[in-house]
């Protein structure tokens, strides 16, 4: 570890002042026994296994599908359980507030009346669905499944980068990464007592059934996928298999008399819960996008009448909008009367003239993001952008300020990655997955650590050259 080139002024997950952090020690002891050729073998094995086991996502180019693996770094990211407790507490608090916000914003709108949140921000949000107004959802839970993206700043404090409350993906990679870890490092996991993540499908199905029991004593649960061309199709099939539920596409479902049915060889079978992985705008062509072939005509009205439960609820996009993000700490104070446990990254809203002016003057110190984009698209990183790119973004911001926000560039923490035969620091974030059920919020101890594999990059998204690593929570 002596040659590990930790970066100055950046928090490193493994090293502190050239000393291995306590919670990494056991792993490092085991890891040090492998020489370069053994590590290269492990690296190759991981790549081969991901490909042969079909743990891939498909990229379509010129009408041709290319199977790609989500790059996996063999060195796990390790988190101490005391720190995990803190993260857990912070996420639970945040989700509670966001969930109340969703209930409020689609019902009485106290938060707007009390001027905690400007109404313009809500009504101009493209993901705010007027169709959801006064729709009651079981147990008042909207955010059944969420992935909260966390980063660390130079001082090691955690910040929430993004709330993913619509159809967060990546959980199958969390599960597969763990399987990969015990193949690459046999016996190390049980020896250092890494907490298990494979309970996720059990927790999820338990919640889905609890929701379904509002409708039927023996609820029928299905997973609605956009189909094989979706990049996360592997995840859809994995989750359906691990929960023992049917994987269906829109064309497999039909709505009759506001009831949803699944077509089977033995006739129609009533569906009570839909874990959907289809976006809001495609879910019902009669109400949302008319050209959608991924959804089910009539589904919205069946949902509105309470004949089917859709997980996650429709209209959640208003709560994970990047402009509304800056109000989440206020929401926590307003709804829960508590101080936020997890920090939020300071966010400048472009429709506010002063903040826009400041951003444009300091563009090279900012990350500018489109409010309704994700996956690293529609983003400008000031210190890496060319003058032309900055000029183009400035123009776009002035044309449509509501669609942009800016944040100061955060010095994401680094974690060791095995690249070209040596350990090198690379920037990471963390996406823990939370499940909100009738019994409360549960978070599996781990999550998906995404890593920016390109040297110097801070973009961890898979679509932008990012990869992932296993996340170990240890005592």
């Amino acid at each position: 570890m002596s040659g590990y080139p930790a970066i100055n002024d950046i928090y490193d997950e493994m090293m502190s002042d050239n000393v291995v952090r306590n919670h990494y020690r056991d792993f490092v002891t085991g890891f040090s026994k492998f020489d370069v050729s053994e590590m290269d073998q492990k690296n190759d094995l991981a790549k081969k296994l991901f490909m042969t086991q079909g743990i891939t996502f498909t990229v379509y180019n010129d009408g041709e599908g290319i199977e790609k693996i989500f790059p996996f770094d063999v060195v796990p990211r390790i988190i101490q359980s005391s720190e995990w407790e803190f993260i857990q507490k912070g996420i639970k608090q945040r989700l509670k507030a966001l969930n109340i916000f969703l209930k409020d914003v689609y019902h009485q709108q106290f938060i707007i009346k009390d001027e905690v949140l400007p109404s313009s921000l809500v009504y101009t949000c493209p993901n705010y669905l007027r169709e959801m107004i006064n729709v009651d959802v079981p147990f008042d839970i909207y955010t059944h499944i969420s992935g909260i993206d966390l980063i660390r700043d130079y001082d090691g404090s955690y910040y929430v980068l993004e709330d993913n409350l619509r159809t967060p993906s990546g959980v199958s990679y969390m599960l597969e990464n763990r399987k990969m870890s015990y193949r690459l490092f046999p016996n190390i996991l049980p020896n250092i007592k890494v907490k298990q993540v494979n309970i996720y499908p059990d927790l999820l199905i338990k919640n889905l059934l609890s929701f379904g029991r509002q409708i039927s004593a023996k609820p029928n649960v299905v997973l609605l996928t956009p189909g094989i061309f979706n990049s996360a199709y592997f995840e859809h099939t994995t989750l359906a298999r691990l929960m023992g539920i049917e994987l269906v596409e829109g064309r497999d479902l039909v709505v009759q008399n506001h009831q949803v049915y699944m077509k089977t060889t033995k006739g129609l079978k009533k569906v009570d819960v839909i874990y959907r992985r289809v976006d809001d705008e495609f879910i019902d062509p009669l109400v949302f996008r008319q050209d959608s072939v991924l959804g089910v005509p009539g589904l919205y009205h069946a949902y509105r009448k309470g004949n089917v439960i859709i997980v996650n609820a429709m209209g959640n996009g208003v709560a994970d909008d990047k402009a509304i993000y800056s109000y989440v700490p206020d929401m926590i104070r307003y709804y829960l009367g508590e101080e936020p446990i997890l920090k939020s990254v300071p966010t400048y809203r472009m429709e506010n003239l002063d903040e826009r002016q400041y951003t444009i003057e300091n563009m090279h110190k900012m990350v500018v993001k489109k409010t309704n984009e994700s996956g690293g698209y529609g983003m400008l990183i000031g210190d890496k952008a060319t003058d032309e790119e900055i000029a183009e973004f400035t123009k776009q911001i002035n044309l449509n300020p509501r669609s942009y926000i800016a944040q100061p560039i955060i010095k994401l923490s680094t974690a060791p990655c095995y690249i070209n035969g040596v350990l090198q620091p690379r920037r990471v974030d963390l996406r823990p997955f939370a499940l909100y059920g009738p019994d409360g919020i549960e978070i599996v101890p781990g999550g998906l650590t995404r890593v920016a594999l390109k040297e110097g990059s801070i973009v961890v998204n898979s679509s932008q050259g990012g990869g992932s690593k296993d996340t170990w929570v240890v005592d």
Binding site: L45, Y182, R183, L184, P186, N187, L189, P190, K193, V194, Q196, N198, I199, D202, I205, K206, L208, L209, V221, R241, L242, M243, G244, I245
Partner: protein, 291 residues
Amino acid sequence: MERTNFQLKVFHTRYIAYQDGASVESWENFCEENQIEIDNEDYSFGNLISKALFDINNDLSIASNIFRARENARSAQDHINKDVWQCLNDFHHQMKDHFLFNQSRYGDPISVFDLLVKQSMVYYGVIDNYVARDEGYCFLELGKYIERILNSINLIRKQWILYGEDLLDNDYSNWRYFLSSVSGYDFYLRHNLGTMEKERIFYQMIYEPLFPNSITYSLNELDKFSKQLNSGEQGESDETVGFFIGKCIANVQFTRHPRTREEKMLFLARIESDIYEISNIFNHQFFGLVV
């Protein structure tokens, strides 16, 4: 070969349970069960697995199983086809591969399990697709299902001894591994959505006619192949085998689901005894062995 396939799946799952930190079984127990002799108190998992798989001096190892299967096949080459012989021969040579041994001892045992299970599947595929449905095939299948029932009984018995009485235990991970070791986890989930109950698992293992590793399924297959065997007889057909298989099926089908662990053990012992009886009748009737 059935035993080989069964053992490979069980070892594989047990290894994963251990890596997940969910196994409570002692390695001494594992050694005793598989007659593994350990030198220098080396209870490292690599050592145990490599011995369970590759130790030719251990009668219960996978290598010994394959060796015996190959010897049997060699002596009956005129009754089997070339594909079956080739498959067994390949399997045998795989078991002598030092790379695989080292991989299980020092590297990634799951790669070894995957490879061996795959070879086992190739064997089943060859039998299924290329072997004539004659008397020899019937005996192969009869042997397979007798072996499967005995292996299942042992596994169920052990599982209930270890975890069956723990009524307050809400951690079902051990039951998940148990089902995985008989390729029954997906089946269970499909039929018992979101409910993990020991009694339902017991039901699936004993009574479920559509689950290929259940006792009922195997008994039905025994019945089918014994009838097929009898129908090919030139002389007077003998109903003895059919009677004993029917008796065993009736014993399983018309016994009330045993609730307590003791009742379950007695029930399993009775099925086991029936199966040994059926096996003896086959030996006596078709091979003239005195029982």
